[in-house]
């Protein structure tokens, strides 16, 4: 019996050593799998909530499949991630091949940087689109040292302008791009034409807050950082469910609405969106959840007023910073009950000098903190020690930061 325990302890110790090795990015040759071939990937990581990707492990390589969120079959990609020094397997003629762990990357969205930074791989980033907008301090320091170059105009949709020549010069193993429903705005065709290896991520299309956070695994596959991604995500998941469990037994659910009106059309997250899910898990009754649209759906302002005029809270005010900005946009906002009572909250507590908002960066990875913020706003007694992190109160007439 004692022998068994000793052997088990030794095994754990050994695997920990191996994990350290893995952490340094060198290939591991430790185990043989049942069919006798080598299995180089000791730690495996499978998506649990995210619907946009799936992975299969085969000894010396992994097959990462991207499922286009808009259902376009020709936009489903297969990425073949082959361990460095191993041969490229046959039978994947359509797949883009990457040798992992990758050493140099270029990122087009700040979300990628938050993910990479969480995986302790910030040093691999050589170029980024919109360095000024990055909130992460480590990344900013690297950029100031010149380790990360500005390779674009900062925006990541219609107006993306990339300095392709500079990207080519940086010789990245991967360029992380953001999926866009419109091919015209998708940079990855251009990049592929230039002989680069773009990889498209689509965390923003997931309708579950945990699903969005889980895309850290997608990035981790390229760095062989599955273990770190798993540990991180399990922690987030536990925190999240612990907080949402507290709100399940409440008798009272305050009514919440969201979004803003622009010239008579109200842009709000639909009932099937991750925002609606966050509200629900935070113990709120989302007044605009009638329709099951997942993205922002344009609703007539009349309808919003009828459904939400007596709602208790107005959470998320679009592109506005505070109550003054709202009034400047349209004084008719003052007709809403939540406006009169000043119960307006927005996720702009962490914004840098250039307008880069951490809610859209580390916030994507930390739905547990976002949820805790919301619970703290709606049911402060449930999380008495929590101080708002991404959110702040913006409902007082003279600047919301107070």
């Amino acid at each position: 019996m004692i022998a068994v325990v000793i052997v088990a302890a030794a095994a754990i110790w050994l695997s920990a050593m191996v994990a350290d090795d893995n952490g340094n990015g060198s290939p591991i040759r430790a185990q043989k799998n049942s069919s006798g071939t080598e299995d180089l990937f000791l730690y495996k990581s499978y998506p649990e909530y995210a619907l946009g990707f799936s992975i299969e492990y085969y000894g010396t390589y992994k097959v990462l499949s991207l499922h286009d969120p808009w259902g376009r079959a020709d936009e489903d990609y297969t990425y073949l991630l082959v361990q460095r020094g191993e041969e490229i397997p046959a039978g994947y003629s359509d797949a883009q091949v990457f040798f992992v762990p990758i050493e140099k990357s270029v990122t087009l969205s700040p979300i990628h940087l938050s993910q990479i930074s969480q995986l302790d791989e910030s040093r691999s980033v050589k170029g980024h689109n919109g360095v000024d907008l990055v909130y992460d301090e480590e990344i900013r320091r690297l950029a100031e040292e010149g380790a990360i170059e500005e390779i674009g105009s900062g925006t990541s949709s219609m107006g993306t302008m990339l300095n392709t020549e500079l990207i080519i010069e940086l010789e990245p193993d991967v360029v992380f791009c953001v999926a866009n429903g419109n091919r015209e705005y998708d940079s990855h065709y251009k990049l592929r034409e230039a002989g680069l290896k773009p990889v498209v991520s689509a965390e923003w299309m997931e309708n579950n807050p945990l699903g969005r956070a889980e895309w850290i695994k997608f990035i981790a596959y390229f760095y062989n950082r599955e273990q770190k991604a798993n540990d991180f995500f399990e922690g987030i998941k536990e925190n999240y469910s612990a907080i949402s469990a507290k709100t399940k037994t409440l008798d009272y659910q305050p009514r919440v609405f969201s979004g803003i009106d622009y010239q008579g059309t109200w842009y709000a997250p639909g009932g099937g969106s991750y925002v609606a899910m966050l509200f629900q898990d935070a113990g709120a009754d989302y007044a605009l959840s009638n329709d099951n649209e997942r993205a922002d759906s344009p609703i007539d302002v009349e309808v919003v007023y009828e459904r939400a005029h007596d709602a208790d809270y107005w959470i998320n005010i679009g592109y506005n910073d505070d109550i003054n900005a709202l009034l400047a946009l349209d004084p008719r906002y003052a007709n809403f009950g939540a406006f009169k009572s000043g119960n307006i909250y927005h996720y702009n507590a962490r914004v840098n000098a250039f307008g880069g908002n951490d809610y859209w960066q580390s916030g994507i990875l930390r739905p547990d903190i976002v949820l805790k913020d919301l619970v703290s706003i709606l049911h402060p007694e449930l999380v008495p020690d929590h101080e708002l992190y991404y959110y702040q109160h913006v409902g007082s007439p003279h600047g919301g930061a107070a």
Binding site: D132, L133, S153, G154, T155, S156, S157, M158, G159, M161, Y262, Q263, G264, T265, N290, D291, S297, P298, I299, D300, V301, E302, V303, Y305, E306, H309, G318, Y319, A328, D330, P331, R332, N335, F354, G355
Partner: protein, 357 residues
Amino acid sequence: MKLNGSWLREWFGKTTFGILLSLGILGALFLLDIMLGSVNIPLDALVSILTGGEVKETWATIFWVWRIPKAITAVFAGAALALSGLLMQTFFRNPLADPYILGISSGASVGVALVMLSSGFCGIGAVLAGLGLLGDVGISFAAMLGAFAVLLLILLISAKIQSNVTILVLGIMVSYISGAIVTILLQFSDESSMHTYSFWTFGSFSGVTWDQLPLLLFLLTAGFVVSFLLTKPLNALLLGEQYAASMGMDYKKVKNAIMVNTAVMAGVVTAFCGPIGFLGVAVPHFCRSLFVTADHRVLVPACVIVGGIIALATDIISHLPGTDIVLPLNAITALFGAPVVIWVIVRGTRFGRGVIT
């Protein structure tokens, strides 16, 4: 009575009756516009809102705060766009001229872009905002400023230019320059400002509040009055500049009056409602065909009324009564308006009464 359009033409041919009938339609559509909406307010509730009776407070608010200003704006904006389209078509003797041909709306969009996109990390907007020049001003004010800057430019240059074809080219060039400036601003702005800007370009009558309504009504009514005063010179212009001059018309004065009037009307509408396309170019043709005339004594009032009618109709459609959705106004004006205009014009040509410009 045959349903092939000729009966319609006969009726409308009797101008007074036609004008009265279209006034009636305008009134009916106005009522329809305030009755119909995404929120279903029953008729008896509407009656008690109007008579001050007991009614759900939400409904009263929706009615007074949103629907009424929207409907009034639609009538006046539609009329102003149609009128300025008419003025431009006659002035340039070009059937494709529209209220924006002088570059007015492009100027307005530069103003709006400067305000909206200045929050980004681009230099120009940030510098202006920093100087307090364009930082805190409202979107409508910025748009008007941009429109009048363009007008001033056009007036300055046109004072030295005889031919109005040159002015036409000038206007188009100004549009290109403005477009270029907006593109550069967009390039350096963040996503959120880009979105806000694109919402503005969708066009809408719903953005006008009670506070803004008096200014809008005052400026547009002034534009209507000036247009009525211009009917005689406009009729003379139809026969050519030289003929008009030989009739004793002060061409330069008339030219400037037409341009300023158009710029004020188009600029104000763009400022408050965004760049609403199509109406301005189509309604004048529609009126010429419907009333079978090129006489501005008929066309000016006709454009005011029919412009209002089309604007109200498109507003009703864009709000898709009974649903929660709103469609962009600019999509509706063209999508539903164009086939109607094509129908009217094609019928017109078959009877040998094509578009007269």
